[in-house]
Symmetry: C2
């Protein structure tokens, strides 16, 4: 019975599909990008990201292609470093807008609880 809930995963999915909506990225760069965008608030670790990326790909929300980066220095002989580039699929794009909608729904409920005060402080 598909459709099980994966608590934390949902917001991670939102974030990952979100960055990939802008442009294709490879795993390591996703980690850096998200950290930068969130000012280190969201720290994806390899142990969390890669399995998630595999799941997302299995679900056809994203797709990948390999790139082999060969260094000049090392020359022809080197095996090269491998990068797996991920990009959103059409299905992924649909899922993303669903997630955004769901997030906004939650958000509006939160705002209903705590209407932003005009005189609110702007952080400490």
């Amino acid at each position: 019975m598909p459709g099980k809930v994966k608590p934390q995963r949902e917001s991670l999915e939102l974030v990952i599909l979100g960055v990939l909506a802008e442009e294709p990225l490879y795993g390591y760069s996703i980690i850096k990008r998200v950290a930068a965008r969130s000012e280190d608030a969201i720290r994806l670790t390899a142990g969390v990201l890669y399995p998630l990326l595999h799941e997302l790909e299995a679900d056809r929300l994203i797709a990948s292609t390999w790139e082999t980066v060969r260094s000049e220095r090392a020359g022809e002989a080197s095996a090269g470093r491998k990068r797996k580039w991920y990009h959103l699929t059409a299905k992924g794009r649909r899922r993303l807008s669903q997630r955004i909608t769901a997030h906004r729904a939650f958000q509006s409920m939160i705002e209903a609880f705590f209407p932003p005060r005009a005189d609110e402080e702007t952080a400490t």
Copy 2:
């Protein structure tokens, strides 16, 4: 060491402290209230709520008092139904504003990814 992260719990904490900030409620009424407020988007179940309420109380974020509701019909002899009313403590109020701040931080990152379109629907 205390201070471990509890993924899903955090947003639940936000929601629960949020409703209790408005007025004291008892468990069952929290479930109904949250369901109503979120238009059934957030369905707290007893199995999730009560343990969480106990934790929150142990952490002194909320406090409780028992009420015994005796029905007219049943009369003096009846044991009465028990309601455990919860209300926010000062500590709970501080925690709540922390959670709101954290939520808004996450929120603003999401907005950075997906800037709200000017032509967006306002929902009803």
